[in-house]
Amino acid sequence: MNYEVVIGLEVHAQLSTNSKIFCGCSTQFGAEPNSQVCPVCLGMPGVLPVLNKKVVEYAIKMGFATNSQINRINTFARKNYFYPDSPKAYQISQFDEPICEHGYLDINVDGTEKRIGITRIHMEEDAGKSVHDESYVSKNETLIDLNRCGTPLIEIVSEPDMRSPKEAAAYLTKIRQLVRYLGICDGNMDEGSLRCDANISLRPVGQKELGTKAELKNMNSIRNVERALEYEIKRQKYILEDGGTILQETLLWDPVKNVAKSMRGKEDSHDYRYFPDPDLVPVIIEQLWLDDIYQALPELPDAKSNRFVSQYKIPEYDAEVLTASKEVADYFEATVKNVANAKLASNWIMGEVMRLVNQQKVEIGKLSVTPTRLSDLLKSIEEKTISGSAAKTVFEKMVESDLSVAQIIEQEGLSQISDSSELDKLIDQVLAENPAQVERYKNGEMKLIGFFVGSVMKASKGKADPRQTNEILRKKLG
């Protein structure tokens, strides 16, 4: 039987606000355990949460970026469960009235556009971390680090609209691209600032109702999300084809062994006893504030890509690659400002520059080859001061030193033929080809020297040094 795969994703994005969602503690990653805490995020008796307005602003930005409806009245709810890294024993989240609903994103897989629905986006607080596996934790002991506790999150819940792991990866890539463009989350999956849970089920092709789903957790890269989904499709298919039934359960992905292990079944699922948090008053979002946030939105990837195509006349493919990250797009635009040939800039950035970024593992904005330096290099190509292949050598040198493009060309002798025997040969060739002019020169028509130099330059494709050429010519013509 042929099965159709049905995938929905729940993505948690840690918002990059300076302070936590309900208190003034810092959200800096990697600080000394339990150093960024206060009575409020420690859940001490008697404390009360006060909402960080920036969190609402960031959630609204994501709402706009995902074409969502923004709910003007926002309430918070308590999600009750006991766990040591949750000091209040409830998480403040949104339930009935999430900040964003009914959105969508368009993804592109192998050239085909597809729209993925977004059910909702809501704001909530992150929990702390339980530490079991580190060497400094003794057996049968768990240490708790509450630095992360109270870090703001948005949860972006998609419709079950994805039909393959590839589509899921494309959707997740798009989410990551958007949060980075908006500057609301660093999007680092390995540090856990972007986390993804996947719901996946199979159904016979043509069947309307959904099959029983499994939930996959603990996938710390987009590649792992894809792998885990591929694994889960095989597992479910195997069970179904064997006449078995899928159990509704939560599975934990093991990225080392490449398998998903059952964490808990449906019968262990919590009753979270959601109810409105009486400590927080409803947040009413004023139209004026919404307008301000909308006005201040940066240009988003799709719009930027379209503009690149029309403004710089570069192919769609190039525009998409260049706008994949805002930093690359900015780098491109800063470069192309001084260069006439945008396609040349695009080729260089997609090729040499990206290779360098991957090699050095640095952000493009921090490369020693700045857009200004790159445009100097590209200009010397455009002006035919150097050849394309010579330019690659210059590029290598630019990485290693702070010297200007001109200095490197000079130093490396790339702009001219400095080898006098090679120049000799060229000059001899030019003289042999123009016996009449040689005769006229020798008869006193001295201004013909200019003609000879020009011809040599042309023959050397610009690499000959005019001064040296002049000298040699005068010598040879006596």
Partner: protein
């Protein structure tokens, strides 16, 4: 001014017990906002007062540290849950005491001990640092010997607090200088439901006597109808327990306070700690609250209770179109004997029948001494006014004190 503080309000570096074993030797790392404000005014805080565990009770018998006795007769309860604070003022140990009032926990013990007990409007002052029982109902209240004492203290502690989103960001009037010392033209509402069955006849006749005097002095008496009041106890015990079940979840033995860990796993540690640490009444309310929030019951109980709460609030809004202040008994009886109602939680819950509505509606209320019963126990009368109109309570309360 010498002030006692109910032991569910945090003072920095001092132990907070909430009348419970579960907090162990917990010392607060911070001051409640009201404590900060009192200290700024150079108040002398002499100590913390006993209470029903986590403010759950109407007799102060539910404390892990033993009951509080009524100074008018040590066989009698002082009321609760702020029994210790009421007695501190009644006995002259303190000029003023802070309590907390979730369903009557300041007004009922004030009535039982012959003191004045004020429950300000919800949001009039910050709850930051008050250990939460039921967040949408809790309010820090003030005990004093006279109405003006409570007005004086409210002046010092009222106002918006950036640490409490539910504190109202509106101007606080100056309560110290009595605005109106006459009752001429004042419309006093008498809710017919509050003078019906179950009210001690002596208390009833004394209150009628007082209202007659007020009429003589120029006040207008208006009968009002609080039809939903009969549901107040029922909805109160759904909403309060629901919120409590969540608020008290943090006392789980992990981060502070008592922990019973026999090395048999996390769930076992939670269960043993909470079973040992919480008293019977607290456990009863946690179970009740957990139940009403559970999947399948939420709509029938919690949601329905919130809807009826809205109707009750509407009833009060309508009533306050007809009158300025609502006058009623504070409690249906005088103080009862220690142990008398311990095995009958329902009859204990009915102690708050006249007081819970103010918490559900978010309005303000005060209990002032109304007289002495033939059983030689004091009792109070309650005044209620619309939200943030504490001034009306102070004006009329002071007037009645001078009758």
């Amino acid at each position: 001014m010498v002030i006692a503080i109910k032991d569910n309000i945090n003072i920095k570096d001092e132990i907070t017990t909430c009348g419970s074993k579960i907090l162990g030797e917990f010392k607060s790392p911070y001051n409640a906002t009201v404590v900060t404000k009192l200290k700024t005014e150079d108040a002398l805080i002499i100590g913390k007062t006993n209470l029903d565990e986590f403010a759950m009770g109407s007799s102060n018998e539910n404390s892990a540290f033993g009951p509080v006795k009524n100074p008018h007769n040590p066989e009698m309860v002082p009321g609760g849950s702020s029994g210790g604070s009421a007695v501190a003022v009644a006995t002259g140990c303190a000029d003023i005491a802070l309590g907390s009032d979730t369903g009557g926990s300041v007004r009922q013990p004030a009535s039982f001990t012959g003191t004045v007990g004020l429950k300000p409007s919800y949001g009039r002052l910050s709850r930051y640092g008050l250990v939460a029982f039921a967040s949408s109902l809790d309010q820090i209240g003030i005990f004093g010997n006279f109405t003006q004492d409570t007005a004086f203290v409210l002046n010092a502690i009222a106002g918006h607090d950036v640490l409490d989103s539910t504190s109202a960001d509106i101007t606080v009037p100056d309560y110290i200088n009595q605005k109106n010392s006459s009752v001429t033209g004042l419309k006093i509402g008498l809710p017919k439901q509050y003078f019906a069955d179950g009210l001690d006849p002596e208390i009833k006749s004394r209150i009628v006597q007082i209202t007659d005097r007020l009429k003589e002095k120029g006040a207008e008496l208006v009968e009002i109808d609080l039809a939903t009041a009969e549901y107040a106890i029922a909805i109160y015990y759904i909403i309060a327990t629901a919120e409590a079940s969540s608020n008290l979840s943090r006392f789980d033995g992990v981060h502070y306070g008592m922990r019973i860990d026999e090395g048999t796993g996390l769930t076992d540690m939670y269960e043993k700690t909470r079973s040992e640490g919480f008293g019977e009444e607290v456990q009863r309310r946690i179970l009740l609250g957990t139940y009403v929030l559970s999947a399948g019951y939420y709509d029938a109980y919690y949601k329905k209770a919130q809807q009826v709460r809205r109707l009750l609030k509407n009833d009060f809004d309508t009533a306050f179109k007809k009158c300025d202040v609502i006058l009623s008994p504070t409690t249906p009886t005088t103080a009862f004997k220690i142990g008398e109602k311990s095995d009958d939680p329902l009859s204990m819950y009915l102690q708050d029948i006249y007081t819970v509505s103010a918490n559900l509606a978010g309005i303000c209320g005060i209990s002032i001494p109304a007289g002495m019963h033939s059983n030689r126990m004091p009792f109070g009368l309650q005044l209620q006014a619309r939200a943030f109109n504490e001034q009306a309570l102070f004006d009329l309360g002071t007037f009645i004190e001078k009758l």
